[in-house]
Amino acid sequence: MSREYETVIGLEVHVELATKTKIFCGCSTAFGGAPNTHTCPVCTGMPGSLPVLNKKVVEYAAAVGLATNCTINQNCKFDRKNYFYPDNPQNYQISQLYEPICRNGYVEIETADGGTKKIGIHEIHMEEDAGKLVHDDWEDVSVVDFNRSGVPLIEIVSEPDMRSADEVIAYLEKLRLIIQYLGASDCKLNEGSMRADVNLSVREVGATEFGTRTEMKNLNSFRAISHAIEGEKNRQIDLIESGEKVIQETRRWDDTKESSHAMRSKEDAQDYRYFPEPDLVPIIISDEWLEEIRSHQPEFRTEKLARYEQEYEIPRYDAEILTNSKHMADLFEETVALCGKPKKVSNWLMVETMRLLKEHEMEPEDIRFSPEHLAALINLADAGTINSTVAKEVFEQMFADDTDPEKYVEEHGLKTVNDEGALRATIEQVIKDNPQSVEDYHNGKEKAIGFLVGQTMKAMKGKANPGMVNQILKELL
């Protein structure tokens, strides 16, 4: 008789904060750049260099803590986590163990049965990111680039409260949304600005003790997370079923192989020898400072949803999609502020934008076009300057590279033809060229008119005013 198992999952989520500079030095956090160009003595561990904390990091971390119902530790400190690795220039990482900035929070997720569930947050701490290792394809060497070394991170450590991949994804989406709303990070999994390590164990349903857990690293997409959870759950159950033991270890997910392997090595003793960082002084967050951070908290999704329904009179469903991304919501509000017409703005975002995002496998955060251009496009369409077919074509251009729609329409001569003389001449020619369709129409085949409209539009390169074409056609027939 087979036993029933329950999966117990806790997450360690690393989020790169959207500061302009690194956590302990004045180097830029901008992506890209030739190797080691965004570096200085501090972020490369030069002898004699010393760290100085970026104030904005504390403010972002506290803001995330407040938004996730944490208690802010008003007297927090940094510690050193000691381990050797080439991407870790000092061979210790400045992090927080003993006095992290936030503790005891939670976020609420929606469950499959339509209910809600609280996922506990054990702590949030601040730390520095490591550099990047590029592995040579031909020789047995790797190359270290410290451009990302010292980029500020927060690590959000959940309680082991999740029981399925769906809950994990819901929790991550919720976190991402909160952090994006705060502007504390863009939270892109594929670019590594949000990374999740999964701690997973299984136990028999009804058991009170947790099983032995493993930690899964290198998960770069929601899909990878789902698959890794599924795979690891099955691996552990198989071990238990065959009478073997689960070993507490760190495993690395291989996305192409869709499997994981242990990262064990005799040389990695996983004994981090934490101790208080002597080069940094404690952080005391006064009540006043905390209040100031609280007062700068933005409008979160729940409040936005309500306001959209009320202020813009758009349906709940639309509001939900729009507010599901901070960038989308901002785009919506900014466009409406420019051109009014919330329903139309919402439609462009919900229908065409979402379609193209899906087609290009992009996230709403990747949208490039500006609210100014979307507003201009809506105005052009609304004024009848371009017809809806042309509008869609222009929009695709705009989506691709933020083209100015007014310029584009002008340059490509896409304005709708409203000149009755020109339309009439073209339609007369179309009627002459398609006697069969004309006959069909007269024989009661109403549909035939559609074909004739199409032929007219084609002849006019799509720019004809469709209302006028219909009217003139009917008249001439």
Partner: protein, 493 residues
């Protein structure tokens, strides 16, 4: 040759008065180095060409009236654990044998702004770990008073260079006594300032919570003048303290009337050499004669400072020295198979025995299961030691005692027994744990003619008290601040 026999301030005055030039002074220093290095070996790097070029530039600026600092044009030697841009900085370790810093330590920058002429870098115990300057990878430094003896350490090269008149003054660093103990052994004057007074930016860390840079010179006036120049609030060092009262030369007053001086009985117990004891107590008498109120008291906890220090310093060192791994700078082993072997071989070949001993101990006390028992315990004892000093300073302005239990030991006598060597720091170490300022100045010589050092300890941020007491004491003696001066005087004073 006489310019190097002058104090730094006297030389600075002559330069300002156009009696001599910075170039003259630098030439004399370089000549002295050329003459005495073979016997003393104070330096790891001497930059003769660069020093002369700098001296010329500085003299031009002095002539143009741009540089008016009391030390403008005066030659200085820098301990080799302070980064100097474009000048090799080795910490006297093979692992940094070729390291060329790309920036200069803040304290050294402050000296440069004041027109100091940097001669080169002085020898030290490897990574400042040691009390004899014998753990240097580049050879031992010898005591100029008697080259069969050690100069003390870890700033042994800096102290020996001052005593051998190879420079006008020097910078050292003090983690557990590394300025005061060798100053005592070499018969020079050195100050370990309050933690946070001199920026640590550019000082290659040993024990970050204990390290401080300080001056080593021929007398108290020089030390106060140098300290005034190198002290600064540095936004690059988070532990740097904003201080208003860094006009230390104001304390150069020959007046200790009513000053309360405490003598800890626990500093005069077992292990203290009789001659040292007598000289130090005689110094206390001199101050008493000048109107100071001198009193004995029990400080307490003295014997616990050393074990607490070794836990904290070694733990910090094990982490601070992790960065030396053959990846970014310094020594990398020739042959290796894979990353971990590259690390292990580079570090094992690059570090000397004492450094490895302390890294091993530091790694152990922080390791899983021992952190509370060793590291936290030591931090608690540190709190108790600080409290004991707080209580003492509620009663006294200055604490007076020896800088070291003995005079300079013979070469090779200390390294065989580490704990015995560590015990030599018994009077200096607690000062670092509590972050306090301390000064060591000569107060006599023993029967072998080796200098004895007097230590004065002040409450935090009260350097002025110890400078004033030291200055007043200094006025009571006909003073020979180097073996050369002593010889000229026809014997030791």
């Amino acid at each position: 040759m006489f310019l190097m026999s002058l104090t730094a301030v006297e030389l600075g005055k002559r330069i300002q008065n156009k009696e001599v030039t910075a170039v003259d002074a630098t030439r004399e220093a370089l000549a002295a180095i050329a003459a005495r290095e073979e016997a003393v070996h104070s330096f790891v790097t001497v930059d003769a060409e660069g020093a002369l070029a700098r001296a010329k530039q500085i003299q031009e600026r002095i002539d143009a009236g741009e540089l008016t600092s009391p030390l403008a044009g005066v030659p200085v030697a820098i301990k080799d654990n302070m980064c100097t841009q474009g000048m090799k900085t080795t910490c006297s370790s093979k692992i940094l044998y070729n390291f060329m810093p790309t920036f200069t330590a803040e304290a050294v920058c402050n000296l440069e702004k004041a027109g100091a002429v940097i001669l080169g870098k002085t020898n030290m115990d490897e990574f400042a770990m040691g009390s004899t300057t014998e753990t240097s990878a580049f050879g031992v430094t010898k005591n100029p008073w008697n080259t069969g003896h050690v100069p003390g350490g870890s700033s042994g090269g800096s102290c020996a260079a001052v005593a051998a008149e190879e420079c006008s003054y020097a910078l050292g660093s003090d983690t557990g006594g590394s300025i005061r103990q060798p100053s005592s052994f070499c018969g020079v004057t050195g100050i370990k300032p309050t933690y946070g007074t001199v920026s640590r930016y550019g000082l290659i860390a040993y024990g970050s919570s204990l390290d401080q840079i300080g001056p080593i010179a021929k007398d108290v006036t020089d030390c106060a003048t140098i300290l005034e120049i190198i002290s600064s609030h540095d936004s690059k060092d988070s532990t740097s303290v904003k201080r208003e009262d860094t006009h230390f030369t104001e304390a150069l007053v020959d007046d200790v009337k009513g000053m309360k001086i405490g003598i800890p009985r626990d500093y005069f117990g077992e292990g203290l050499n009789t001659e040292v004891k007598e000289a130090v107590l005689a110094a206390a008498k001199e101050l008493e004669k000048k109107g100071a109120i001198v009193e004995e008291f029990d400080l307490g906890l003295v014997e616990y400072a050393i074990p607490a220090y070794y836990v904290i310093a070694c733990a910090e060192a094990s982490s601070n020295l992790a960065r030396f791994d053959g990846v970014k700078y310094g020594y990398r082993t020739e042959e290796y198979d894979g990353l971990h072997q590259m690390y292990k071989k580079s570090r094992s070949e690059g570090f000397g025995a004492e450094v490895k001993r302390r890294i091993m101990l530091g790694s152990f006390v922080l390791s899983s299961g021992y952190y509370d028992a060793y590291y936290l315990k030591a931090l608690r004892v540190k709190a108790l030691i600080k409290k004991a000093f707080d209580e003492a300073f509620a009663k006294y302005d200055v604490i007076l005692g020896p800088a070291a239990p003995t005079t300079a030991p013979k070469l090779g006598a200390s390294l065989s027994d580490p704990i015995q060597m560590y015990l030599g720091d018994i009077y200096t170490i607690s000062v670092n744990l509590a972050g306090l300022p301390g000064i060591s100045l000569p107060c006599g010589t023993d029967s072998q003619g080796l200098p004895i050092g007097l230590q004065l300890i002040g409450d935090c941020f009260k350097e002025k008290n110890i400078i004033r007491a030291a200055y007043a004491f200094e006025q009571t003696r006909d003073y020979a601040h180097s073996p050369i001066a002593a010889q000229e005087k026809g014997g030791v004073s």
